[in-house]
Amino acid sequence: MGRKRAQSPPRQAAPTEDEGAGSSSQQPVEPPKEPTPPVRVIYCDVCSFPLEYCEFGSSFTRCKESLKESNEELYNKYYSDEALQSKIGTLSLEAQKKLEKDAAKKEAKAEAKADAALKKKLASQVTIKRIERTKRKHVTAIHGLEAFSIDLKKAAKQLAGRFATGASVTKNAQGLDEIVVQGDVSDEILEILEKGEGVLKGVPIDNVQVVEDKKKKTEG
């Protein structure tokens, strides 16, 4: 690298001595080509499709409403009467009707699905379990956080930082992921979940239960 740099200054100096013809022949060697800027495509906030494809998505009515609120101009571009007329294009009226019917059906289906998912989410439980290790030592296992779309790895990291202890994501006996934190921190975790600190938010506190898992007393 160093050598190359040392060589370049005399080369640059050369054309200036020649002047005129020399410098003009130099210019095409390094064309100031700019990268072509990307086309900016506006995506729908609701279904993430480009706006013109909302009608094929599963949430057309919602897409339409949200666009109308956020950007009247674009709304008119896509959903005014003229636009709707020209959109039909080469398709026969029958086919168009069928398409609309299908779209409505699809939408209803997607809605039902979303409802079911929401219900499931509301019903799912988070358990904070205190597990006894030896004598006065405990670990705390938190199970069921993934239902509330919490990244378990990030949550474990946050808890580890918070309590200055080890925290990891492990599979439990049922093969489900859970966070295991060293030490008895069940009350603190409950508090964190209540406040929704960091990534641990969106968990309704009524769905959280604290249980204690005692080791069988074998030695006196």
């Binding site: 990307p38 086309v39 495509v41 494809y53 094929f56 959109k87 294009g89 398709l91 398409l99």
Partner: protein, 184 residues
């Protein structure tokens, strides 16, 4: 390819790509897409390492800054992701399907010849015919932006002649699971 794709189970691992291999990929991409080196540099700066995300069934996704930019099946061509194609629509030759075919395309179907040859469809004229096994951007009647990326199974001239069966095989389309992944 990405109709059913669950990142948590279908991804085998992330590995940074060696510089020598990156050079090779860059040359390949430049030859396969109609793109200037400067623009590619803007999409994928030399300084930013490419990350290879290995997935099941020999699919590889390549990401820059954890954003997928193109993917590959076996040693096949490098398909740009749809989001990239939306930004740089001219990098692939264009074919168009009629309005009736859109909903099938959005369900992941391959594109049949009649949908491409009918009034709403578009195939390049004979002088610019696309041979078989080439990447194309699939556009839709009355729409501005591409709706899918595919590979021709017949040359465009054959599509017009035979007018039956699969014309363009869909690799990725709007609303598939690759579309849903914005960062890896």
């Amino acid at each position: 390819m990405f109709k059913k794709f669950v990142p948590s189970t279908d991804i085998a691992g992330h590995t940074p790509v060696k510089t020598s291999v990156q050079r090779q990929i860059r040359a390949n991409v430049l030859s396969q897409w109609k793109i200037e080196p400067e623009t590619l540099e803007a999409i994928w700066p030399k300084k930013e390492g490419l990350v290879h995300v290995k997935c099941r069934e020999h699919v590889s996704i390549y990401t820059v800054n954890s954003e997928p930019i193109f993917f590959q099946h076996f040693d096949g061509p490098f398909y740009p992701t749809l989001r990239l194609l939306h930004k740089y629509p001219y990098i692939l030759p264009k074919v168009q399907v009629d309005r009736g075919a859109i909903r099938f395309l959005l369900a992941g179907a391959h594109m049949m010849c009649p949908g491409l040859t009918s009034a709403g469809g578009y195939l390049p004229p004979a002088e610019e015919a696309i041979p078989a096994e080439r990447m194309v951007a699939i556009h839709a009647e009355g729409k501005e932006h591409a709706v899918g990326v595919g590979i021709t199974k017949l040359s465009t001239e054959d599509m017009k002649k035979i007018n039956k069966g699969v014309g363009v095989e869909t690799a990725t389309y709007l609303g598939d699971d690759l579309w849903a992944i914005q960062t890896l």
